[in-house]
Amino acid sequence: MSDQESRSQIELAIDNLMRRDLITRRTFMRRAGRGGLAFGAALTLPSLLAACATPGSSQSATLKWLNWPAYIDITEDGSSYPSIDAFTEQTGIPVEYNEGLLANADFLSQYAPDLRAGNNTGWDVMTPGGWVVERMARNGWLEEIDHSKLPNWTANCADYAKGLWFDPDNKHSVWWQGGVTGIAYDPNLTGREITSFDDLLDPKFSGNVGGFKDMRDMFGLALLSLGVEPVKSTVDDVKRAQEKILSVPKGHFRGWYGNEYYEPLAAGDLSISVAWSGDISQMNLYDNDKVKFIVPDTGGMRWNDNLVIPKGGANLDNAHKLLNYYYDPVAATTLSEYIGYFTPVKGVDAKIKADAEAARAGGDGASPDPGTADLYDALAPTVVPGPAQVANTFTDKEMTEEEEAQWNALFEKVLIS
């Protein structure tokens, strides 16, 4: 069949189609108009209802909370968050929880324009890391916290969780959860025990080593291995740290990861990697129990994330209620039993041990659950940083913008060579 014939066939077919279902312009517009009206009405209905709600009834306004992934307790089927549901029951405030905070620097660059202009970012509570809090506070982007509304914090906050370098008076932030950056490895793949940062640079492991693309974590560990505390480091020290990291053979670091180092490490693609403590606790429980986490002998990096209230939100009172709620030992225990990071609340480890006992004994109609009991027993000591851990872990340096630019420039060299 040549092109000519096929074309006229098509034309005939179209003609038949047109004759069968005669849609004139008029009928089309009429249908479109009706449909559009119905659609528009459906869209405006929710906003009409919202407008009908009594103004100033902040009791029912939804609280919007932006947090990191894997940082909240969650039911088996992943459909709801027990501690948040309990909060809503207690206070009547519904919470919209979002796990969209994936990286500190990305988060900052995303919300900076709104914050600079004083607009509503769309969130009432956020959970950024320490250096971000310092910057946001310095730029006047955070609401001051009214501690008279946080009795639980005043009563229950542990000493290691307050007065940190980025917010010495806790004017703008309270500790959410914390952890340690150290080294994780699989002894079967490395063939020996790992104790120091230098092991990460051992050419024997070339091609199966994971680095972090977070400049503060990576340079922090390297500086510590040179005997320099990050807080006291100068740019020359950072240059030496950079050279140390660059001294490895080409392709030594298989990749420069964010949180996505988890899968390759669990799967065995990486035999040794920089890692976060809480991730490895969870990995041991669910994915790979052979991987071990150590704080390098020269020191690891101690960090924490913080609950902050950005300016431009409308839910100041309710935000305070949420912050206060998570400093209640019951809520904090529910949280820690799930996510295993450092809790700021006193007495949580004792409560977890009590839960372990209860699980072991059974009672109240529940059968004894030794599996859960063992889990809780193993977990209890890890939710509080022990004195040795605090002594051997160090915090980020508070940097000026020029310093940060210099560190970033040095780190970019590491990424591309």
Binding site: A105, L108, G251, W256, P264, D269
Partner: protein, 285 residues
């Protein structure tokens, strides 16, 4: 009066197209140029200081990334051509009633997001995954062999993701070829191979050019493949990755904009060279 309206009408007809180009190309380019010439900090804001010195600085530091990205994109283009041409040819010449179904199959992966497709490939190609775990169990490859985080894997990822961009223009060009010309060639003592190279391929060149451009230009700026499949490994770090890093992590907007602008310039130069080589009359069938 008549000659005046004749002069203006073509201009007026061009206006929508020009408007589109201005709004979606010229203005963003101008903004990027302005941003690249600014200086300042993230907190205090940036001011336009006409800092042209940023260009030599940025090129001096990162020229290897441009070379590497061009190499990756070129390899991906050649591979997509090698794989895509037989596919397009088969669908066009031998497709028959199944043409539409086959084209749908080619486009089907696009129903899934780019990132998710790339993540899936990372899973499939992982060290002890379906492909390599199997081969390692058979003893065909060494136990510590890895494909991910190598240049080859990134080129593979780029090829896979841009294959439909090559196949569809090729199909359109090949489909239009009048079969009788091939018949005529064979009548004039050309072998099947000669008929292919000197008639079919030459007539399909507009499709080859279109497909190459549609593959090369996005591939050179791609950063997701190097990030996901390449794990950000230093050997596969591309221009897109450094721009992303500077923009999102280092918050160094002027450098990121300068790098972007240089990329645009590099791509324009390469495209001009390419189309001159092929002959711009081939672009229009």
């Amino acid at each position: 009066m008549r000659s005046l309206s004749r002069g203006i009408t073509p201009l007026l007809l061009l206006l929508p197209g020009m408007g589109w180009l201005v709004v979606f190309f010229v203005v963003p380019m101008a903004v990027m140029l302005m941003v690249s010439l600014q200086q300042g900090t993230f907190d205090t804001g940036y001011r336009l200081t006409w800092n042209f010195g940023i260009y030599p600085e940025v090129i001096g530091q990162y020229w290897q990334l441009y070379v590497r990205s061009a190499f990756f994109a070129l390899s991906a283009t050649v591979l997509t051509l090698a794989v895509g041409y037989p596919v397009a040819y088969t669908i066009a010449f031998r497709g028959g009633r199944l043409k539409n179904a086959l084209l749908l199959i080619v486009v089907l992966p696009f129903f899934v997001s780019f990132v998710i497709r790339t993540l899936n490939w990372r899973m499939i190609l992982s060290d002890n995954g379906i492909v390599f775990g199997f081969l390692k169990d058979l003893g065909i490859i060494a136990p510590n062999f890895h494909f991910l985080a190598t240049p080859a894997s990134v080129i593979f990822g780029l090829t896979y993701n841009f294959l439909p961009f090559m196949i569809l223009p090729l199909y359109v060009a090949i489909e239009k070829i009048d079969r009788r010309l091939i018949e005529a060639a064979t009548d004039l003592y050309a072998s099947r191979v000669q008929a292919f190279w000197r008639v079919t391929f030459v007539l399909s060149l507009p499709g080859v050019v279109a497909g190459s451009l549609l593959t090369f230009i996005p591939a050179i700026g791609d950063f997701i493949t190097a990030d996901v499949i390449g794990a950000g490994n230093s050997q596969v770090f591309m221009v897109g990755n450094i721009i992303q890093r500077k923009f999102l992590d280092s918050l160094d907007y002027p450098s990121a904009a300068a790098l972007g602008f240089v990329l645009v310039a590099v791509v324009m130069v390469l495209v001009v060279v390419y189309t001159r080589l092929i002959g711009s009359d081939r672009l229009a069938a």
